[in-house]
């Protein structure tokens, strides 16, 4: 069975090569990978090894001739096969082999290579070709150019075009074009991203289409950027777009076509929000960019609430003695200028209770948890910028006055927005004083990496039973949230009870 080796693309996307030297002759015996020809491409001189073993029956191009990639180069007959006389017509050598092979399984002597429908079609095309014009075909093959065979696919086609095309001459023929600007598919059930709509309502979209100086200019000239259609590249809104719009509005106002800003609509008085069905003056809906503390808070609470199973416990406790101690300390000159709040005593109580229940001061890591032998106390603070949780590092090392000073400084920094990101890192247990908001209790969300947060309620005068008598006492609710993966209700209860015990009897703090 004869095999044809077509000219492969030996570079990356080459389309043709010149035959420089034949290294074999018709009638010679070749082994797989023997070098049979040297060719020159646009890139280099290349020696081609032959992929078949057998006897060379035909060299299909002359030295000096340029062949297109994919054109037949050399024909090899299997050894033992009748070798045709090189001088006879080419059809005699190739046609019978091509015609009989599809039907003859015996011809499939090489494993991994089977005759396919494609090869049948190739043979059929060849037959057509020979019927079309035998004499013409014969001539073309005799002079070695074999042009009419160029598009004949054979088995084991060469890989053509692995890289950038040197030229487009051999590109596959297209019957139609495919829209290169297809950006979305209709009828897909997967939700489109919000910004894929063509409108300018999305803030991110406006940010993408108008540069900061352009947005600043628009703001100064009172132009609504989202109403503009950009004339720049990729729909970018330019300074000209803004200025043109401003100019247009000025002209419209001057000609009375458009009201001046703040003026009542022509023909009627200025409406109130209630008349427009609104709650207050302003647009009906407004998109407000999330940034800064709001963004960080959102990220943190989402991460914490979705990954950490929270458990919360509460205890109501009589803190009269703590409030008495507070009054005493307030009068102490060494505490002058320092804030002596229930928070101070709660912080002390937490440190005391953590010593007795070390496991509340830990971080969970699925395969293990890290137990901390120190306490960095996070203190949640509501500030004009939003919720921040600055940390008093090594809180257990402070004495009571030192802790009071630290809490005072921390409150001032937080209120003035001077808390640095570094000061919010590394907390191990946190405290949140919701009592300042007049609330009694709540279920706070744990800061990331912490297993415990204590919530302090407001101190209220309440009727309380003391030794069988109802008496007015200072009472507050102490509660908190805990990482249930690490802390069961049992431990959470013991810890909160210990904090409550100190608040009820601050004398416990005396070692």
């Amino acid at each position: 069975m004869a095999e044809t080796f077509n000219l492969p693309d030996v570079g990356e996307g080459l389309t043709e090569a010149e035959i420089v030297t034949w290294r074999t002759t018709v009638g010679a015996t070749v082994e797989v990978n023997d070098i049979v020809v040297e060719i020159e491409t646009a890139k280099s001189l290349v020696e081609l090894p032959v992929p078949y073993a057998g006897i060379v029956t035909e060299l299909l191009a002359a030295e000096g001739e340029t062949l297109e990639v994919g054109a037949p180069l050399i024909r090899i007959a299997a050894e033992g096969e009748e070798v045709p006389d090189p001088g006879s017509a080419p059809e005699a050598a190739s046609e019978p082999a091509e015609q009989q092979s599809p039907e003859q399984p015996a011809a499939e002597e090489k494993p991994g290579r089977s005759r396919s429908a494609r090869a049948k079609k190739a043979a059929a095309q060849k037959r057509e070709g020979s019927e079309r014009g035998d004499s013409e075909r014969g001539n073309s093959q005799r002079d070695g150019s074999a042009r009419d065979e160029q598009k004949t696919p054979t088995q084991n086609e060469a890989l053509v075009g692995s890289g950038p095309k040197a030229d487009s001459a051999s590109r596959r023929v297209r019957t139609r074009s495919t829209a290169p600007d297809l950006v979305d598919l209709e009828g897909l059930e997967i939700a489109a991203p919000a910004s894929a709509s063509g409108t300018y309502t999305d803030i991110a979209d406006i940010v993408a289409r108008a540069s900061p100086p352009v947005r600043a200019l628009a703001k100064r000239l009172g132009v609504a950027v989202w109403e503009l259609v950009g004339s720049g590249r990729n729909g970018q809104i330019t300074r000209d777009d803004v200025e043109r719009q401003a100019q247009q509005k000025r002209e419209q106002r001057a000609s009375g076509q458009m009201p001046a800003p703040g003026a009542p609509a022509p023909g009627r008085r200025k409406t109130t929000p209630a008349e427009e069905g609104l709650l207050f003056e302003g647009p009906r809906e407004e998109n407000i960019q999330v940034r800064g503390v709001r963004k960080a808070t959102a990220r943190n609470v989402t991460a914490s609430a979705t990954t950490v199973p929270h458990v919360s416990v509460f205890k109501e406790v009589d803190v009269t003695r703590t409030m008495e101690l507070r009054q005493a300390l307030k009068k102490d000159p060494s505490y002058a200028g320092l804030s002596v709040s229930p928070m101070l005593f709660a912080a002390k109580a937490i440190i005391w209770a953590v010593r007795r229940n070390p496991q509340v001061n830990a971080t969970w890591h699925d395969t293990h948890y890290t137990l901390k032998n120190y306490l960095n106390l996070g203190v949640a603070a509501a500030t004009p910028r939003g919720l921040v949780v600055p940390v008093i590092h090594e809180a257990h090392a402070f004495n009571t006055r030192g802790l009071a000073a630290a809490l005072t400084q921390l409150a001032i920094d937080a209120r003035e927005g001077r808390t640095t990101p570094g000061e919010m890192q590394g907390g191990t247990v946190s405290i949140t004083n919701i009592g300042t908001l007049g609330l009694d209790s709540g279920t706070p969300i744990l800061p990331p990496g912490q297993a415990s947060i204590v919530a302090l309620g407001a101190v209220r005068k309440k009727p309380w039973v003391v030794e069988g008598q109802i008496v007015p006492r200072d009472v507050m609710v102490i509660g908190g949230s805990f990482d249930h993966r690490l802390i069961d209700g049992d431990l959470a209860g013991r810890f909160i009870s210990d904090v409550a015990a100190v608040m009820e009897q601050p004398g416990l703090l005396i070692d």
Partner: protein, 397 residues
């Protein structure tokens, strides 16, 4: 022979000449080009420990790579591979180094680490899928601790640094057993040309700052396609290590025993927690950069002949014989085995199925994604827009 580690060559400016004269560094060599084993106090003991069986194994993998290389080059010339990047001449550098590290150590290769890939159990067929463009890669990196071939020059050095940082994090967090994490190192392979990439700088800065368990394995094969190493680096590349604050050793990459000994010593030190190290393996690319390149256009045949004389396999084979570690029957057996390997390789390459585009799209994200679906639809439409008779040709595009 002296121990030759990296030493800065800053000799101080003399008079008006303000350029720093780089000092030539003699590579560590144990086997002379004529196959004699030299005495070496530092590196010799690593070789003395090797069994005859291990020594023969080194030869096996070098010979296997060379046979695979020849067959792959032929397959490309016959149009059956889109491209091939030969490793001819670099067999000793690669086999010596990969044999010195543990199979649990993650390797980040370039696209020319064929001998290393074979050593890690990647089959010739898996190795060739990418070069026939039937898959993006032929193996799962996790199966062999061998990352996919990286075509973006030097990008793998960043991946390697990231991987090594991960090992350090594992250690710190205790998320894997301590003895396992402590025992792990990472190997980043680079060619001499890629050392000019910014990525390498970033990787080395991080490796040094974080004292990463990372071994840089530079194969200086003298040519970055058509640019000689001396154009990109005035001094030996090994000297760069010192600038980053770690040790580098220059080794004769055509000497498999020296390559093994140097890599063993350095990887032991990295495992002992001494931070990153660098090997500059001086070797030579005997073939073209890839099959799309013609090296005769930019280098002289004298140079190629010079390196022909330093052939790594011939050198090692002559020593194996003279030292009685292998006899002629062994070499005959290896030759026969790889003749079969070449035939199997050819069969499997011809039988490879073209890439399934659908699957490529479906593995971009773990969940259905609108943009990906849109692009897939576009491509389908595009593919369907070709004339019938010609779509039959070139299915493996």
């Amino acid at each position: 022979m002296a121990v030759l580690t990296c030493r800065a060559a800053i000799s101080g400016a003399t008079g008006e000449d303000h350029t720093v004269q780089p000092q030539e560094v003699q590579p560590v060599q144990l086997l002379t080009p004529d196959g004699k084993l030299a005495e070496n106090e530092v590196y010799g003991p690593f070789i003395a420990e090797l069994s005859a069986e291990k020594l023969r194994e080194l030869y096996r993998y070098m010979a296997m790579e060379r046979r695979l290389d020849a067959e792959a080059t032929s397959l490309q010339r016959q149009g059956q591979l889109a491209l091939w990047a030969p490793a001819l001449g670099q067999e000793a550098a690669q086999v010596g180094t990969i044999a010195a590290i543990k199979s649990s150590d993650m390797v980040f290769p370039t696209y020319r680490e064929h001998a290393m890939a074979l050593y890690r159990g990647i089959s010739p067929e898996e190795l060739l899928t990418m070069f026939r463009a039937t898959r993006h890669t032929g193996w799962d990196p996790r199966d062999h601790n061998f990352h996919v071939y990286t075509l973006v020059l030097a990008a793998q050095t960043l991946h390697a640094a990231g991987w090594a940082m991960g090992i350090n994090q594992d250690l710190r967090m205790g998320s894997v057993p301590r003895d396992r994490a402590e025992d792990e190192i990472v190997v980043a392979c680079i060619g001499d040309g890629a050392t000019s990439q910014g990525d390498v700088h970033e990787s080395m800065v991080f490796a040094s700052s974080y004292e990463l368990p990372l071994l840089y394995f530079i194969q200086n094969n003298h040519w970055a396609i058509s640019v000689p190493t001396r154009t990109q680096s005035r001094g030996p590349l090994v000297n760069r290590a010192q600038g980053y604050g770690f040790e580098g050793v220059r080794v004769d990459g055509n000497d498999v025993l020296a390559s093994y000994a140097v890599a063993t010593k350095l990887s032991d030190e990295i495992r002992a927690g001494k931070g990153p190290k660098l090997i500059e393996s001086v070797t030579y690319r005997m073939g073209a950069h890839t099959t799309a390149d013609d090296p005769t256009k930019y280098r002289s045949s004298e140079e190629v002949e010079l390196w022909e004389g330093r052939d790594p396999i011939r050198r090692y084979r002559s020593w194996l014989s003279s030292a009685d570690h292998a006899d002629e029957s062994f070499f005959a057996e290896v030759d026969a085995e790889y003749k079969d390997l070449a035939a199997d390789m050819r069969r499997s390459v011809l039988a490879m199925e073209p890439i399934d585009l659908e699957r490529v799209f479906d593995t971009v994200y773990s969940e259905p994604h609108r943009q990906v679906e849109t692009e897939k639809a576009w491509l389908k439409d595009y593919e369907a827009g070709f004339a019938e008779d010609q779509t039959e040709a070139g299915t493996a595009r």
